[in-house]
Assembly symmetry: C2
Homo-oligomer: 412 residues x 2
């Protein structure tokens, strides 16, 4: 069985106030250093010093601490021909420090073991029938996959937690799914369903679009950018936004519900009760309807439409261009509101991109505020694994925070 250290970690007494103690300093520095390694990969000691502004002594002490706890390893310096003593490369130890990422999507279920540094060590994806699979069944199946992956892990591997992505509204704080229309779930206690299988591992649940933007902004099409909008369609439409800081989650955790941005006062009635929501115009059903397929055709119909477009059917392509107009209207508002550096289209929108990308760009060049017209629109670069990687980042964010890392280092 794999070793679990999180019990001690989470049991550490929390600092209630905002004041910083003497040890907060070290915790924070450990956190920023390890986060740097996690996000940007291996780095020389000297480079870490330059990035953090800390002295060689301080870096040295911290690297030793982290190494003695098995979080980083030092390897031979790069021989790059510069003069001076070469600086050893510090790298995060992915194989011994992992989290588990999972997603419960409409058409499939995925589980992955993600190492420190963001590498996907193992992953499994299985089809999921769309018709009425109850939460217990789906989650139970995910738990089976998790057990399978865990049994293959080296027993010395530390598992820091489990992150789960769900296409629905997640209430902040509580790990409950309030509503997932396209899974036909309502008020599901995800944590309760997972807990028996994962014992006391920390669990984090996130919206699929929210974790999508985490993945794309850290490892995907928006890598390195700090202002990112990720717009995704998995039957429904959702967005995740990062605007210069952490993920925008809103007061109750419902931030980014752009699927219900009103775009067409003359549009169809939406499941939410309103009229002309973005989701009713650019969701899967709308796309199928415009292309001439039955709106409830599901995954198979979507594949057929995409194939027809790929093989050059002008009817379908024109329908998709018509479809894209509403996407452009929605994007216009979002770009004007958020002023991001880049927009990433995921899910169905990413798959449609080859056919509608140019049309969208043309529309935006007219509609968007002049100062924001150069905002690039790109398809997802990670694709199917985006939600798995994003869900794991949910866990890493907590592991790499000052409050968790400090106590860890002290145990070493």
């Amino acid at each position: 069985m794999t070793k679990v250290v999180t019990a001690e970690v989470t049991s550490t007494k929390k600092r209630e106030g905002s004041g910083m103690r003497n040890e907060s300093l070290r915790n924070q520095n450990l956190a920023t250093m390890l986060r740097l390694l996690h996000l940007e990969g291996p780095s020389s000691r000297a480079n870490l010093g330059r990035r953090t502004g800390l002295t060689r002594s301080a870096i040295g002490g911290m690297v030793n601490d982290l190494a003695s706890f098995g979080l980083v390893e030092e390897s031979a310096p790069n021989r790059d021909g510069t003069p001076g003593r070469p600086s050893p490369i510090v790298e995060p130890v992915a194989r011994r420090n992992v989290v588990i990422g999972a997603d419960l999507m409409v058409d499939s279920i995925g589980v992955a073991v993600v190492g420190l540094g963001g590498s996907v060590l193992h992953s499994i994806r299985r089809d999921r029938p769309r018709n009425q699979q109850r939460p217990e069944e789906s989650v139970g199946y995910v738990c089976q996959l998790i057990q399978k992956l865990r049994s293959d892990l080296d027993p010395a591997t530390r598992i820091f937690g489990v992150g789960v992505a769900v296409p629905g509204l997640i209430a902040k704080g509580t790990q409950r799914v309030l509503l997932a229309p396209n899974l036909k779930w309502e008020n599901v206690d995800i944590e309760g369903l997972f807990r028996p299988a994962i014992a006391d591992l920390p669990l984090f649940v996130g919206n699929d679009a929210d974790v999508g933007v985490l993945a794309e902004s850290r490892r995907g099409a928006a890598a390195g950018k700090s202002h990112v909008l990720y717009l995704s369609c998995e039957v429904g439409v959702g967005a995740g936004v990062i605007s210069g800081g952490p993920l925008l989650s809103g007061a109750r955790g419902f931030g980014g519900e752009v699927g219900h941005l009103p775009v067409n006062p003359d549009g169809q009635r939406c499941g939410c009760g309103a009229v002309g929501c973005l989701e009713t115009e650019i969701g899967e059903r709308a796309m199928l309807r415009r292309a001439g397929w039955p709106p409830d055709g599901g995954r198979q119909a979507v594949d057929e439409v995409l194939q027809a477009a790929a093989s050059g059917s002008s009817d379908v392509i024109n329908a998709l261009l018509d479809h894209s107009r509403w996407l452009s209207i929605g994007l216009t508002g979002l770009i004007n509101i958020f002023d991001v550096e880049i927009v990433v289209l995921g899910g169905l929108l990413g798959r449609l991109f080859p056919f509608i990308g140019d049309a969208v760009a043309d529309e935006l060049a007219v509609r968007v505020l002049p100062a924001l017209r150069d905002t690039p629109i790109v398809p997802s670069a990670i694709g199917e694994d985006a939600t798995l990687i994003g869900a794991s980042e949910l866990v890493w964010d907590t592991v790499l925070s000052d409050t968790v890392l400090g106590p860890l280092g002290r145990q070493a």
Copy 2:
């Protein structure tokens, strides 16, 4: 002449990296403590300890430091009948530590002296002719007012900087106004115009709606809330958003330009080139048009409409209700996107609130996502001074940051 300390303050060499030195600790603690006093008013030492989680010794040392530099003063404890030694009250010294807030609005110009803690010590507001007043004239007039207020100040008063609110696009970093359609300004170097009059005082320029949300979320209708949307109309329409952190400013500083959220595909052409922007539906011109006044009637026409509504003209009131429908559509999208705790309506929207508030609430109860329907919509509580107070908060934010406060304390 008032003393200026900011030269030394700003000249402090910046820490380039993200690592924390030993002194960062004290700086950060000083900053959080003084920010607490600034935002929540006087507080006992013991309470400060509870809020920050720091020990009595630490609080004592910091209070002494801040007091010896004249930033705080201790006064007699509250006799509230609890046992134990009473704890002296620590309060920010407003009269000796101030910033200057200014605004250049469409119809008026305002300047205020705002003390530490947020109190408006003195303020002046003057009408501004709407027709083509050039930037040099407007700014020059503001500078005159600033000089006047400064000459009345105690010479021992420290002025930490000047904050200016402008209804236009402000490019991040540079203190330039790229575009202010309703002032008819384009690419104006605000800093250059101010610099001769304010010498080396730090200057901060912000969008009027952005500073508006700062004011309302700290001292106004949304006091204490951390997720706030402030939607304001001053001829044009703008919004400021706070979502759990600092002001959302976007990648280039154009965040919150919700005036150009598309709401009506069949609407009128907007100045930005697009069609049916929120601004063309709920801006001043649209309101006047619907009420039957000339769209370019300006402030006088607006006053007349409001008076007609107040005296019960059902034609005007019905026109305003019609008007409010589009406001509701815009608000629906914004509420669904941002998931805020409260929405504050400012400027013209705040003045219209008595007539349309109920209608808007009714519309939103149908349109907004069910989970978000309880989001309260309220009018601005600060009113005319919101931009002045908000502009000053722009300066205070910098003063109360760890990077500025540390060196200050060290001089004492």
